[in-house]
Amino acid sequence: MLNRKKAPPIQEIGALRLPEIPVHRLDNGIELYEIQMGTQEVAKLELAFMAGRPFERKPLAARATAGQIKEGSRHYTAHQIAEQMDFYGCSLSFPFQMDTSNAILYSLSKHFDKALPLLADMLAEPAFPEDELQAFIRRNQRRLEVDLSKNDVVAYRQITELMFGPQHAYGYNSYPETYAALKREDLAEHFGRLYNSSNCIAFISGKASPAMLDMINESLSRAIRPGQPATATLPPAPEKPEAVKITRPDTVQAAIRIGRRLFNRHHPDYAGMYVLNTILGGYFGSRLMANIREEKGYTYNIYSMLDAMHYDGCMYIGTEAGNEFVNDTLQQIYHEMRLLQEERIDEEELSMVRNYLMGNFLTMLDGPFNVSEVVRTQAMEELPMSYFESLTEKVRTITAEELQSLAQRYLNREDMWEVVVGV
C-alpha cells in the first residue's frame, strides 16, 4: 500500500558552475561573450552600453536615446527598419535599464544576417529625427498620465525618490516637463559620448555559427566608434529616513512600500542579504507571504526585493492591501523584520530556502538565454565569472547566526523609509 504521508526522498543540488564562456575581442576592442548552447536554431545578440541614468547630462536622456535609436539611421527610415525586422520575424528592442542601455536582437539563426546590418547602421549613425522625438514626448507624457493614476507606480516613484534624493540618477522622477525639455541635441550628445567601443560589451547566445561570429565582428567593428569609458558623478543620498502618506480617497486598496538603501553586488554582505531577502519576501513561502497573505488574507501579493544597481542598491517591500488592512499590514511587516532579528531561523526553513534558491540557480543555467543573462550581469557589473559559483556557495553554506546578524544590521525599523499611497 502506498504511503502518501511520506515524501519521496529529495536529492539536494550540488555545487553549480557557470560553463566556460569563450570571450572574443572584436577588431575595435569590444569584448564578445559567446554562449553557444541550446537545441533550437535561434540566436540572441545583446549589446550593453554603460549609458544609463548615472551618465546622463540631462534627465531622461538615457531613456529617450534608447527609445529613439530605432527611429531611423543614415540608410534606413524607421519604417524600413520595422518592416525588415518584422519580415524576418526578428525582434529588436532597446529596453530601459537603470545603468545600461541595451540593444537586444532575437532572431532565427537563418535570418540573423538580414537583421544585423540594420542594427549596425542604427548604431553607426542614428538619425534622431525631430518629429519622431516630438511624437515620443507626447506619447510618453500621455502614458505617464495613465501610470500616475496607479497607486503602486506612485508609491515606487515616491520611495525611490526619498531613498536616493530627487536629483540622484536612481531617485529622480519623470514629469511632463521633464519630457518636454528633451531636445534632439541631448540625444545626440548622449549617444555620441556613450555609445562607443570602450563603453560596450557584446553577448551572443543560442546557436551562432562561425559565419555569424565573423559577421558580428565585421559589422560592429565598423559601426561602433572608439571613445572614452563612461564616468559618473552622483550626489550624496539623504541619510535620514522619512515616512510619507499620499492620500487618494477614491481607491479601495493602498500601495505600501517600505525600504532602505543598501549596496551593489560588490559589497561583502550582498550574498548574505540575497538569502535574507528571500526568507523575508523573496518567494512564495517567504515570511511576509506566509503571514500577510496566507495567514491573514490582507493582500493578493507581498514581496521584498533586493535591487542592486551599479553604484548603489536598495531593498524594499511592496504590497497592495485593502484599505481596512493597511495599518495591521504595516505592523506585521515590521513584526516580521523584528522576528528575523530576535530569533534564529530554524534548520528546516533554512534548508527549504537553500534548496529553493539552488533550484533557481539551476534554472539560471538552463538554456542559452538564461545563461546569457547571468554572464551579462557579471560582465557589466565588473564581477569575475566565478561570481555565480561563489554566490551559490554562500547560499549553500550560510548559517542561521549569520542571517540573524545581517537582520540586526540591515532590518532596523528606524532605517526604513515608508510610503503609503491610498487611504
Binding site: L2, R4, I10, D86, R138, T247, R293, L362, E418
Partner: protein, 424 residues
Amino acid sequence: MIQFERFELDNGLRVLVHEDYSTPMAAVNVLYNVGARDESPEKTGFAHLFEHLMFGGSANIPDFDTPIQMAGGENNAFTNNDITNFYDTLPVENLETAFWLESDRMLALNFDEKVLDVQRKVVVEEFKETCLNQPYGDVWHYISDMAYKVHPYRWPTIGKAPKHVEDATMEDVKSFFYHYYRPNNAILVVAGPVKTEEVKRLAEKWFGDIPRGENVIRKLPQEPPQKRLEKRIREANVPVDALYLAFHMPARTDPDYYVVDLISDILCNGNSSRLYHRLLKEQQLFTSIDCYISGSIDPGLFIIEGKPSEGVSLEQASEAIWKELELLKSEPVPDMELQKVKNKAESTLIFSELSPLNKAINLAYFELLGDVELINREAELYLQVSAEDIQRLAREILIEDNCSELFYKAQKGEVKVIQQPSAS
C-alpha cells in the same frame, strides 16, 4: 517539432511525455478540464477561487508549496474561461516529489474552513488589485457582458463581483472538486530529461488508484449571431480616454482561427503593422494601440484597443480604425505583407519551443482540444492562409453587426492628493 508519447491510465487520466535532454529541469503540468465557463451565473469566479484552494493542503499533505520548494522547485497555476492549469518545475532528480504532491491533491483536498476563509479574502484583494483599483481594470467585465448574452463567456474569470467570491461555501467546494477534479477530467504532461517508461511507472504508482469520477458532460448554450452593433459609453475616473472594439471570431479548432490570428498580426503585431504604423506613428491619432484575440475554445473575441492622442475624440479614433478595417475588406493583402506575418508566426512558434514548461502546457492544451497532433501542424496551418482567406474573414467578422464598441471616457474628477509626513 515536439515529439511526445501518450498513454492513458485505467481511471481515465491521460498522460503525455515529452523527452528533452537539453535541460536539467523537469516540468510537470496538470490540466483540469474546467474553467469559468462551467460556473453557474450566480456563483461566478468560483473556478479561479478553487485554483487557490488547491494550494491549501490535501488529504495527506498539509501544504503544497513547502515540499516543492524543499525539492528546489517552483510552481504556479492559472485559470481562464476554459481550463484550470497547474504546473511545477523542479530538478529532474526530484521529479517524484511533484507526482506525490499533484496526485495527493487530485485524490482529495483537506477541505479546511480556514483555508477557504483566507483564500476568499485573498481573491477579493486580487479582484481589487487587478480590476477595481486599476485604471480600465473593469474593461473585461464590460466587454464580455456586451459581446455575450447567453454563453458563459459573459462573465470574466475573476467573477462578476467580489460578492460571488465572498459567498462561496464549503459545500460548493466539495461538489466542484468531486465533479471536476477527477482523473478522467484531467491531463498530465511531463517534459524534461525523463524516459517515458519512468513516467509510466510514476503515473501508475501515484495516480493509478485515484477513483474515476462521473463523466463530465458540458452543455453550454452557444452564442447566437449578434446581428447589431452593441455600443456602450463608460464614464470613469481614468486619466485618458480609451476605446475597445470586440468582434466575435471562430472557435479555437476552426481552421479559420489561424486566418483571424494573422489578421490581428497584420493590424497590430510589430512596429510595421498597419494600425501601429499608420494610426500611431504616421497620423499620430493614438498614443497606444493594440489588437489581440482571446483564443478561447468556444468562439471567442477579436479585440482592438487604443488610447487616442490628446485632442483626438473617441469618434475620430474609432473612425480611423474602421477605415483600416474597410481597407482589409476591399483590397487583398499584398503578398509581401502576408509573407511577413507568416514569417513572424513561424518565428513565434519556434521561440515558444525553447522552454520545456511551455511545451508541457501546450501539449496538455492540444490534448484537451481533442487532437494533440495539431500542435505540430500549426506552422502548416498558418502557411496555408491565403490573401483571399484574409479578405473573406475580414468581411465576415469585422463588421458593425458583429461588433461591441466600448468607449471609456475620462472624467477628470477630483483626485484628491494630500501629501503629508506621517508618524512612523
